[in-house]
Symmetry: none
Subunit: 207 residues, 4 copies
DNA sequence: TATGAATGAGTGTTCATTCAT
DNA sequence: GATGAATGAACACTCATTCAT
């Protein structure tokens, strides 16, 4: 959420319009995908004229890009904030998983976009645009890896390749979240949360 | 690979054309994505005329759909074959992971398509088309779940929700494969294989 | 230059704004052409807001039209003034050519616009708008024709169709000026002046 | 007119379509100007679908460019052919003027385009495109200059700067042609022809 | 049957013009 | 009055799909 303090009314209005447009774009890109969403759709959803979008974003791609950057930024910030707010290494590890689930529970529409982008990497946009985003993503991956690595150092978890483990952490949750969203069975995400944490921490081996 | 025995030459020719077109589509969809690949691209790659595609597939979507069905079928068949060829329940569990890695190592281009489809679910295509494929996918998920469930029954692994575990199995491997493909570092996939198997079987808990 | 005497301050301010806008339009239309110049460009160049233009001109076309009228008026006035300030019929003829060169030397940017308009006639604007301007242009052509006709009457030049001659006078100078502007070789226009005068008066026939 | 001999039927068909499209473009660009003519207009005029144009020309600009190149080529070829078909230097000079009038009498619509392009030079198109055309134009100017220069050498006309004279030749005729086209008074162009030739050769000086 | 030229609906983008402040 | 943000009509261009050959 962008700072609004200390801005003139004009600037705040501009901010608000940008937010409106980003929200509409998030909704529709999430719902129908990038290619099946037209600029007119977005403008209509946000209750603006088509041309208005172009006052805030140069191209459709740029709007998409801005959306991703914004939300991934929010995501990364949210997870890291949570992790840093707990003390013990093992709780940090648990929080990595919990916070992700919590964030996407609140931003389900965005989850579709996130997944598509994280997995297909570059089929939607041109290479150049992706660079900044890839940097954000890798920075986060590194944060996750470091958290895991710290936990190993502290003797809280077993020693394995932390980068690979970070990637695996990323992966396990995704299809579980996907399913959960699809079925909307609405048992709270807690069940999934404890399932994953239990699985990863204890493994499948019988004692 | 489709049956060719007992077909007239005409029918065999038709089969061959279909294969050619599917192969070209696989290559290009994998390379540039669905929306950035034109029908002409595909026809050209396969060395046919544009119109020819429409003798074998009604629409672009149908070609995509056919491709998915075919390859996912191959995938499912491959994994299930492997799993069934080993005897012990715990080896079956290991083989679930091994076979997946092995298959996609040989079909890297298709992995991109597979991932996109598994994650975005229905943004590429219209709902109706997806039904058959979803059935295939769920059938496979069930097979995985059953294999895992059998292993639990046999006391080879700990008891957890087998469906959820199946979903988790699916998920962990994907981003690891993705990274492996992207970096083309070409240490054999064995490393990833043992990493995943070790992680899931033993978990992270210290003894 | 429009009269400013006897106007209230408000009226003088309005006049000034109009002038500013016309000047900006002249610069940009001359530089980039009518279609490649946006209303925002003009407003920005003149340091006004976009909407302000519409307080002074109903449409883009009207601004263009006003610009043409104004400058062609200046041009015609300038040439006619010069011609009337000399006495002998043959000098008047020479002055027709000299004055044109002199005017456009000082208004090179406008020359581009003038040329485009004189040659393409009505492709830039709708017919109706052109009427007033065509009248101005023809009025000037008549003035030129009369001046030439007078010179014939006075026995200063040979008798030929004066209207056609007026048109020819108009024509010869244009591409020479065009070249001169393009090459910016900046030998003074005198050379061109004497070339044209010599050519038209003496012709190419050997004595 | 392009060669059609030795081409397959397919190639001849393609040629014909190109011609159709160029003809439609010529008509409409001449009538309404480049910017007021839409691709759909052109397609409709030529009785094709909009997309068809893009099979033959990459962009609107390219169509315009192709049209100019083609017709200016025709023009240059026509004039030079005529000039070379007469023997005496003074007749060559006369033919320069005659042939131009004759050509544009048959291609009146194109004359509008020609004029606009020759005078405004680069406001319609991007620089790069213009290069080839500028070369064509200057090559022709040089031909004219050489013809005039030859006539001077041969003692057929007085000695003046041949390049400048070539430019003047170009210029005088244009507005006369313009007037003639506008008034459609349809006295044959001969009158204009003899007027110009008489003017330029004999000049205005009384004997 | 196979082709690839023709099509035209659909979309991103621009910009003259309006109007609330 | 002056502004400049908002608008939406208009247009170039693409590409899945058709169909005459």
């Amino acid at each position: 959420m962008p700072e609004t303090a200390g801005l003139s009314r004009k600037e705040r209005d501009q901010q608000r319009r940008r937010e409106d447009l980003l929200a509409a774009a998030e909704h529709l890109f999430g719902l129908k995908g990038y290619h099946h969403t037209t600029m007119e759709d977005i403008a209509h959803e946000a209750q603006y004229g088509t041309g208005t979008i172009y006052l805030y974003f140069k191209k459709k791609e740029e709007l998409y890009e801005a959306l991703l950057e914004r939300k991934i930024g929010d995501y990364v910030e949210f997870v890291q904030g949570r992790v840093e707010s707990v003390a013990s290494p093992i709780d940090k590890v648990r929080t990595l998983l919990r916070a992700k689930l919590e964030f996407f529970e609140k931003h389900m529409e965005f989850f579709r976009i996130y997944l598509a982008e994280m997995t297909t990497a570059d089929s939607t946009l041109h290479r150049s645009c992706n660079e900044r985003r890839e940097r954000m993503y890798y920075a986060h991956q590194e944060f996750v890896a470091r958290t895991l690595s710290d936990a190993m150092q502290a003797g809280a978890i077993r020693e394995v390749d932390p980068t690979r483990l970070a990637t695996a952490f990323e992966g396990v949750v995704n299809p579980l979240l996907s399913e959960w969203i699809k079925q909307r069975s609405r048992e709270s995400l807690c069940v999934i949360e404890s399932f994953v944490i239990d699985l990863l921490l204890k493994g499948l081996e019988k004692k």
